[in-house]
Amino acid sequence: MSFDVEAFRAEFSFFQQHPDWVYLDSAATMHKPDAVIKAEVEFYQQHNSNVHRGAHQLSQQATQLFEQARDTVALALNVRRREEIIWTSGATEALNLLACGLMGTVLKPGDRILLTCLEHHANIVPWQFYCQQHGVLIDVVPLTNELELDIAAFQQLLELKPKVVAMAEVSNVLGTISPVAQLVQLAKAAGAITVIDGAQGIVWQRPDMQALDADFYVFSGHKLYGPTGIGVLYGRYELLNNLKPLRYGGEMIKTVSFTGTTLNQLPYKLEAGTPNIAGAIGLAAAVSWLNNFDSAALTAHKQQLFTELYLGCQAIKGLQLLSPQQNNVGILALNIKGEHPTDVAALLNEQKIAVRAGTHCAMPLFQALQLPGAVRLSLAAYNNSHDIKRTLKALEQTVELLQ
């Protein structure tokens, strides 16, 4: 099936509003197709009511839409039970919920967990915070010289018997894809609970939870063409059920008295307060909308653009490319030799090329690379060849201006 990028791009009103901009910051947040925006607007205009608690038909309809959204995501991820999909505000909240929820239940003082050098702060800091409180130790998988996870070191660190292994599917800085399926099997064989941060991975390839076999998987809706403020924590039912909630109050409770409280069942007991109903419906709309397209064709298009960008950048004198070309979802981290990434981004901004500069919430990775940061160019399927040509021209101009 061929892929018509202009037809795909036409699904996004944003690009009609900003025809003069090249958006290469999709790893920060993606644009949302009109189908997603429409789904949210329609919910508020036609169905708005609170869920699960109304005595009226309107609430029942809203509840039905909200729970259908859960079913859509559950089906897309091929989970065993719909209750294994927990709505969160995003990947960050999901990881906070896990770090908090596993402490004291699974993780005890003196236990170890294993993270990797590629992690986003959201998959480091919540663990650090709760591990310090509970006397749990953290080990870190280093990188090889080729900037890939050091599998041999990973296996050695598994010998320390970590109770939890948490790792990103895709590096948010470099764009490289980690062999998570293989690593999950190794970690499980060593008896660890596995957590996959799918924030950058989810849009690259829709994961099949039963095939991947990880215990937990988290992602944010806004990095899958969906709204901000909604995300998903997938977890194996028994493990989810044992998590200590991060928040208390609302639908998560069955009975309350001043002598004690009984918690509701999954998924509700991990979803305190009124949920982001429209967000969940918007995310489900994004998932359904994506089903209209051949995912292999989207990936092939993105890979083609990435190759064009990568080779073009290689030909510009003075650019230092950090990201490997191979095994990459379409993220290119680069620097101009001797220049601060902020300066490069400022000059690209002047030419209406939207990129991100800095340490990208991955300071430990930059410490390992011994760099103050990088400029990150991240692609999505709505980018076209014109975007790449303009970016390459702007980079040439930037190099020239910094001389």
Partner: protein, 150 residues
Amino acid sequence: MTAHELILQSKAPYTAIAKHELPAIAASSDWQNKYRILMNLGKQLPVFSSDLQRDELLIAGCDSKAWLLHQYDGITQKHYWAFDSEARVVKGLVALAICQLNGLSNTELAKIDFTALLRPLGLYQNISPSRQNGLQAVLDKMAEQIKAAS
């Protein structure tokens, strides 16, 4: 270099920037030329040696590291600054602000609208005093220093 020497060595470059580059940027019609000048402003200014890149001089809220040194002459009631940043764009933008303020007295500074300092330069299309480039944070800090002395 001591802090005092750094302030002294920054005086002449700031005066020169106010006289030459500031009007040159304002007079340039194309953005490339404006930036060519802006990005090279820092080269005229002294660099903070590692012992002066002190944490208490760091400006919080910049994407790049930036240090601001301030000296107030109690007798003449005049303020002097020196500034350095890892990023050329920040060093240049702040130089364009400091060059208009350096060596002024409390009474003179009280009359100046800090929010309008860079407005005539035509850089405001995309570069504005923002949290990202840290210019706003530097201006806030300078206003604080002036207030403390007045």
